[in-house]
């Protein structure tokens, strides 16, 4: 479903991604781990071209974006429409209610009739356990609730792939579980997911594959059971020792 080839990203002089190759199959849950500054968030943001890579290519559902050339606008639009993104800081629209946040994409971008979009938004919010918070503004919701609205907002556009950028890092510890549960449910439904996270429990429970990135390169990739118990690379071992 996703095929990344030779991906490079430079911010000025700083090279953050140094030749990433990666395949993600349909229905797979891939968890990306790595020390801070390793490039994992940048990699995720390249997948929907929120950051434009410096070189390499990404193929999504047979559409290839080749970053050795200028990427066409409609190519970017395709990547955005096929992917949903969940941010570390939720980035909900503060002037819109939970329901309006979820309806915004379908109504404004997909031009769906309001009543259709509303029905879908209601069922999505029910699904993430916020059936009683439709008319709440983001500031009236806890972090965990806001993040679940964020997930519903992304799902409303019916993406083929969901991208999660440290979705629980900004949450109080007791709120992490409710967000991870929603993500696990989604994984069980067969959603293709790429998740950058520090939640090793989630990786162990839900990931099909864990990828360890350091200094802009994929160091090691394996099933979670293998990678966590029997890492092959010294650097992976060091990292796991620090966090487990």
């Amino acid at each position: 479903m996703i095929s990344i080839k030779g991906l490079y990203k430079k911010f000025g002089e700083l090279e953050v991604l140094k030749g990433i190759d990666l395949e993600v199959n349909k229905g797979e849950v891939v968890v990306v781990i790595g020390p801070s500054g390793s490039g994992k968030t940048t990699l995720l943001r390249c997948l929907n071209i929120l950051e434009v890579p410096t070189a390499g290519s990404i193929t999504l559902n047979g559409h290839t974006a080749d970053f050795s050339k200028q990427v066409a606008k409609n190519e970017i639009n395709y990547f955005r429409s096929e992917t949903g993104m969940v941010f570390q800081n939720y980035n909900l629209f503060p002037h819109k209610t939970a329901l309006e946040n979820v309806m915004e994409g379908p109504v404004i971008v997909k031009k769906e009739p309001k009543d259709v979009a509303r029905k879908k938004a209601v069922s999505l919010l029910n699904k993430v356990g916020l059936g009683d918070k439709f008319d709440f503004y983001p500031f009236q919701l806890s972090g965990g609730q806001q993040q679940r609205v964020g997930i519903a907002r992304a799902l409303a556009l019916e993406p083929k792939v969901m991208l999660f950028d440290e979705p629980t890092s900004a949450l109080d510890p007791e709120l992490v579980g409710e967000v991870l549960q929603v993500m696990k449910d989604l994984a069980n439904e067969g959603m293709t997911m790429v998740v950058v996270t520090h939640e090793m429990r989630f990786a162990q429970d839900a990931a099909d594959e864990v990828i360890f990135i350091d200094e802009g390169k994929v160091i090691e990739r394996n099933k979670p059971s293998e990678l966590f118990t029997n890492p092959k690379e010294e650097r992976t071992r060091q990292f796991l020792n620090l966090i487990l």
Partner: protein, 234 residues
């Protein structure tokens, strides 16, 4: 001052005369406010804000020429006195064959002014909205215009209400400068009446009170708008 007051208070006839003048000039002054001062303010503010939004967008755009045009416009308008601008428009332009009536010339001048000052307010307000808002909008597929209109500007509006109210209230008072290019707005009316009966202190004070009342009502409206737009903020 003391002499003036003692003389008046000692003379009931004089008091009566001043009251009469104050009352009979009230309607002409209000007329000046209703027909000229307020329309001049509202029309100029309307066009000025449109100009300000466009200028703000030009200045934060990625296009160098647009940035430069915006920068020069703001610099020229802010760097020259409003009165001089009005004189150029009304007394200067006829020299090159462009004759504009007093009222449209004033609207033109004030709009350009509001556009320049308010563009800085709006630019700052837009830039104060976190980058994550743009990104979130882009990830759900919204383009630049949709993001600006639906996500960024509504939030920027809330931030810019207090400083824009400042601009608006300044504009109410600045319209008195239009008296100098022959717009018969409230202050010019006051001047005309005073030059006939020589009661300058009375007429100018009366005009000042009306200006103050207008600004007072406007700041009440500002409070209501702020309250309304603040409903989604903790």
């Amino acid at each position: 001052m003391k002499m003036y007051l003692t003389n008046i208070l000692a003379d009931p006839e004089k008091i009566q005369r001043l009251l009469d003048i104050a009352l009979t000039s009230l309607w002409p002054l209000l007329e000046g406010a209703l027909y000229y001062t307020l329309p001049l303010t509202f029309i100029s503010f309307f066009f000025g804000i449109i100009l300000a939004v466009l200028t703000a967008l030009a200045r934060i755009s990625t296009s160098k020429p647009l940035q430069i045009i915006g920068r020069i416009y703001v610099s020229v308008i802010r760097g020259t006195p409003l009165l001089v601008q009005l004189f150029i428009l009304f007394f200067g332009l006829p020299t090159v064959g462009i004759v504009i009536d007093p009222f449209p010339a004033a609207v033109f001048g004030f709009s350009l002014n509001v556009g320049a000052y308010a563009s800085e307010v709006i630019r700052a307000a837009i830039q104060s909205i976190p980058k994550g808002q743009w990104e979130a909008a882009h990830t759900i597929g919204m383009n630049y215009t949709q993001t600006l209109r639906r996500i960024i500007l509504p939030q920027a509006t809330r931030v810019s209400i207090p400083p824009l109210s400042n601009t608006f209230i300044s504009l109410v008072k600045d319209t008195s400068l239009a008296s100098l290019i022959l717009v018969t707005e409230m202050f010019r009316k006051a001047q005309e009446i005073a030059s006939a009966n020589y009661e300058f202190l009375l007429l100018y004070t009366e005009a000042a009170i009306i200006y103050w009342l207008i600004c007072f009502i406007l700041s009440l409206i500002q409070d209501r708008i702020e309250h309304r737009l603040g409903r989604y903020v903790a």
